[in-house]
């Protein structure tokens, strides 16, 4: 195989702000390049990107190619694909394209890989080098197992899970240079009609000190009752759930924790019948103390827990409540006002 060396990082930004994913990508690209900023270039696409490009070059210490797409408001798969394909084709020694594993990167990166005939490895959350070959790690089977992947193609497209690779805040780097180019593009077949804002009301979950969260393991709507009762044991508690629980209508969507829901950091997170898929876990990693209850001893959620209990939640939680009544209820105090365990 030709020894290609160049790494392209595709910056992620929205609403005129650099998204934190961009710094994660920089950290990853540096790791891929043995810590050296040479041979890495960060591509920024958009309309008004002067300030973004300067900020990225300044903080990362890596050269930036600012690709001005006049009139491009926000993200567009059609534009990202055509412009990136054209820009990256110019790069003869392109080894890696690093994109965020978010709503943007997951949208364009696989299509870009298909266009280049390049291997695509998505949701990368680990990397190691063995005998000159890079192994890229990703979650499979809901996070229960990690796969070590290798690429066979000269160019490889990677989407990087956010929050895993972290740019050293102490890192001293002289700012990278900024090269400006204009890209012509046509939006043919996809018309952007704007963004519908959501996610305002988070049902008090963000402020809760204890979050009791239900997963599909709860089995049916009727069993949500025991989740609410469990939450009532704790002052300043709230009930939340996984996406599947919200999809089922067992909880409203403003109680969903995860990448497409809320991020919470309570003192205590009790995960009841939750498998521990990264999309969920990323919403609760900041919790102080984590208890997981699951019938499957090998559930990924146990890797994210301080205390692991292998039990059926539908029988274990009622038993726990009963024992609490017997042993603790005497010194139970009235609940603090503003307590939210009501559910929906």
């Amino acid at each position: 195989m030709v020894n290609k060396t160049h790494t392209a990082v595709i910056a992620a930004h929205a609403d005129g702000r650099v998204l934190s994913e961009t710094w994660d990508l920089v950290a990853f690209a540096l790791q891929l390049n043995g810590g050296r900023p040479e041979n890495i270039e960060i591509l920024v696409l958009g309309d008004n990107i002067d300030r973004l490009a300067e900020e990225i070059a300044g903080k990362s210490g890596i050269d930036v190619r600012a690709i001005f797409c006049t009139g491009l408001t926000g993200y567009s798969s059609e534009v990202y694909l055509s412009v990136l394909a054209r820009e990256l084709e110019k790069q003869a020694d392109l080894a890696y394209v690093c994109a965020p594993h978010n709503s943007q990167g997951m949208d364009y990166a696989p299509a870009l890989a298909a266009r280049f005939g390049a291997a695509c490895i998505s949701g990368v959350n680990g990397i190691f080098l063995e005998e000159g070959t890079f192994f890229f790690q990703k979650d499979i089977y809901g996070g229960k197992i990690k796969a070590n992947m290798v690429s066979h193609t000269a160019t490889t497209v990677l989407t990087i899970q956010s929050g895993v690779f972290k740019l050293d805040p102490e890192r001293q780097a002289s700012p990278g240079g900024v090269v400006r180019t204009d890209a012509r593009f046509a939006i043919d077949r996809t018309r952007f009609l704007g963004v519908r804002k959501g996610g305002g009301d988070c049902a008090g979950i963000a402020e809760a000190r204890v979050v009791v969260a239900a997963g599909r393991g709860i089995g049916e709507l009727e069993n949500m009752e025991i989740i609410h009762r469990l939450a009532e044991l704790f002052p300043k508690s709230a009930v939340a759930g996984t996406r599947i629980v919200c999809d089922q209508g067992w909880l409203p969507y403003n109680r969903q924790v995860g990448v497409t829901g809320m991020t919470v950091a309570p003192d205590l997170y009790v995960a009841c019948g939750i498998s521990g898929a990264s999309q969920h876990v990323m919403g609760m990693r900041g919790a102080g103390f984590v208890v997981a209850i699951n019938t499957d001893r090998q559930a990924a959620m146990f890797n994210e827990a301080d205390i692991c209990i292998v039990e059926d939640i539908t029988t274990f939680i009622p038993l726990l409540l009963e024992i609490y009544q017997q042993q603790y209820n005497d010194n139970a105090v009235p609940q603090a006002p503003g307590n939210d365990t009501s559910g929906g």
Binding site: I145, K146, V150, Q327, Y328
Partner: protein, 275 residues
């Protein structure tokens, strides 16, 4: 109007047993229980709803995999899909999303599908790649993580007089795709297009008995993946699997259920999390 839905047969992760061997290498035990990828249930449901809302819609469902994968086609037909197509592969080898997508795009070529639906991701491999790759190979526009889909009729109105099918008016699809922070991007995309749907877009139904009986009698079109075309070589490989590292203490509380409950209450009490 013709819709192609891609559906994958996946092992049930809850029942997947990891036999850990030395050095954290994960050896996967028997994968006895398989089912339709959950994301794809939403894709099948969406197609069937379109069919029910309008005449003249045909829903084909396609799967790539070894022989038993056919079950997923029967289930989709039980939900109301018209035809099943099985792109057969041998054994349990690693199936690259690129190879799967190329096979799907090959099959779909010259079949005039107006809409190709996939799920947002397969639960076993967690890639989220096949949809956008099919679009790329087919030269079609694509949207992923779609949580709302409405077909819109429009500019080609002149055709509707000759053709009584309401569905033949459809020239575009309005979609909302989930982005971060609970927000949604609103897009209008010209047909034909590839749409990868997110869970929650609808409520998938259970297969009906009458549909299942029909599906059991119906022939399933079976074609070897890649066919006589040069088979695309997998551009990447899954070399080995490991047990994920523990991110926290991960202390297992053991004993009878009651003992576990008592211990848990004690731990929470000691940490002043309960009174």
């Amino acid at each position: 109007m013709k819709i192609l839905v891609c559906a994958k047969f996946v092992p049930d992760t809850d029942h997947l047993i990891i036999k850990e061997s030395e050095g954290g290498k994960a050896v996967i035990g028997d994968l006895s229980e398989y089912r339709m990828n959950r994301f794809d249930e939403f894709a099948v449901e969406e197609a069937v709803r379109i069919k029910e809302q309008s005449g003249g819609v045909i829903v084909d469902v396609l799967t790539v995999g070894p022989e038993p994968s056919k079950d997923v086609l029967r289930r989709a037909m039980g939900m109301g899909a018209d035809n099943g197509i099985h792109l057969a592969v041998r054994g349990e080898q690693y199936l690259s999303p690129m190879v799967v997508a190329a096979g799907i795009a090959d099959y779909a070529r010259e079949k005039d599908y107006n809409l190709i639906l996939t799920g947002a991701m397969s639960e076993d491999m967690m890639n989220g790649q096949v949809g956008p790759m099919v679009a790329s190979f087919s030269g079609l526009p694509c949207a992923t993580q779609v949580i709302l889909l409405r077909l819109s009729s429009g500019r080609r109105n002149d055709q509707s007089e000759e053709n009584p099918d309401a569905s033949s008016d459809w020239v575009a699809v309005y979609v909302e795709r989930e982005i971060e922070g609970g927000n949604r991007e609103m897009l209008e995309i010209d047909l034909p297009a590839v749409i990868a749907v997110q869970t929650g877009i609808n409520e998938p139904r259970y297969p009906s008995l009458s549909n299942l009986l029909r599906a059991n009698k119906q022939e399933i079109e079976t074609i070897a993946l890649g066919g006589d075309n040069s088979v695309l070589k997998a551009p990447e490989d899954l070399v080995s699997t490991i047990v994920p590292p523990k991110m926290r203490a991960g202390r297992h509380v053991e004993g009878s259920a009651a003992e576990k409950a008592e211990q848990l209450l004690l731990i929470l009490h000691d940490k002043a999390l309960i009174k």
